[in-house]
Assembly symmetry: C2
Homo-oligomer: 163 residues x 2
């Protein structure tokens, strides 16, 4: 591969990452329309989407039904393996403590997330799980992708609930 080919591949890859996060943002918007906290997630392997979903804690009467948990569970069933080796997660909000630990158990390769969450996050906020000795697998972490759209969705949702 020449340097030029490599540049093109990188640009394509950057475009793909934005596309996956856009899909996650659409899931977040759908969650808001269902009255759920607007967070969306997409699980990808080798450029193929294995699962997309948004929060469904109310709809499913399931306190664990965060977007990340739903796509991890669906992708694991699809692959027939509880370890999602070489899989990447796109999620609109910084994962919480529960989801961060689930991401570690699932052995995800990379996590791209949008807005930080000082109140409930566990990557750069709170318990910073991936930096702890009881975390036994740490994915590569990329914050701030699609951050402003993700934050806008959450702001509008909570403003609407207060209104």
């Amino acid at each position: 591969m020449t340097s030029n080919d490599s540049d093109t591949a990188n640009a394509r890859s950057g475009g793909a990452r934005r596309d996956f996060m856009r899909l996650a943002l659409m899931e977040a918007a759908s969650a808001a329309a269902r009255g759920e906290v607007p967070v969306g997630a997409v699980l990808v392997k080798d450029g193929t989407v294995l699962a997309t979903d948004g929060n469904r804690t109310r709809e499913l009467s399931d306190p664990t039904a965060h977007a990340e948990m739903l796509v991890i569970r669906r992708a694991a069933v699809r692959l027939g393996n509880d370890r999602l080796t070489d899989c990447d997660l796109y999620v609109t909000l910084e994962p919480c403590t529960m989801c961060a630990a689930a991401i570690s158990f699932a052995r995800l390769r990379r996590v791209y997330y949008g807005a930080a969450d000082a109140k409930g996050g566990a990557v750069e906020s709170g318990v910073r799980f991936f930096a702890q000795p009881t975390c036994h697998h740490r994915p590569d972490l990329y914050g701030g992708l699609g951050e402003s759209e993700a934050a806008d969705l959450l702001r509008e949702f909570f403003a609407g609930r207060r209104g």
Copy 2:
């Protein structure tokens, strides 16, 4: 209620707690027989068992299928509510980071656990989630119930795997 009645009620309640933990230990033994890490859990409301289960991460190809998660999810569906108010969890091993956060989201009232887990626990070990500012509901916590039986099951299981 006289002091004597109260003593009897307390003794009965202690007996009930031991019975619920014994049921959790039976679930842990069943998990071991299925080749799963032997942890079992029981979810109780008003003295009634809402759900019992053991780890099923391998069987279900689900990295989130810890015993605690399975009983929380089943009880929440049964009650039609993602908040398990006034519910108590019995689990044979100190909950991990994922399960501790799920316990908090589910608003459980009390958690009784058996053996401590220095390597992966998150109650008295690791991130000590319930003492963190990003934890927004803290159950009452009781460690050491059925501790030796729970630890024996785990020790035998891992010894068998190495053998």
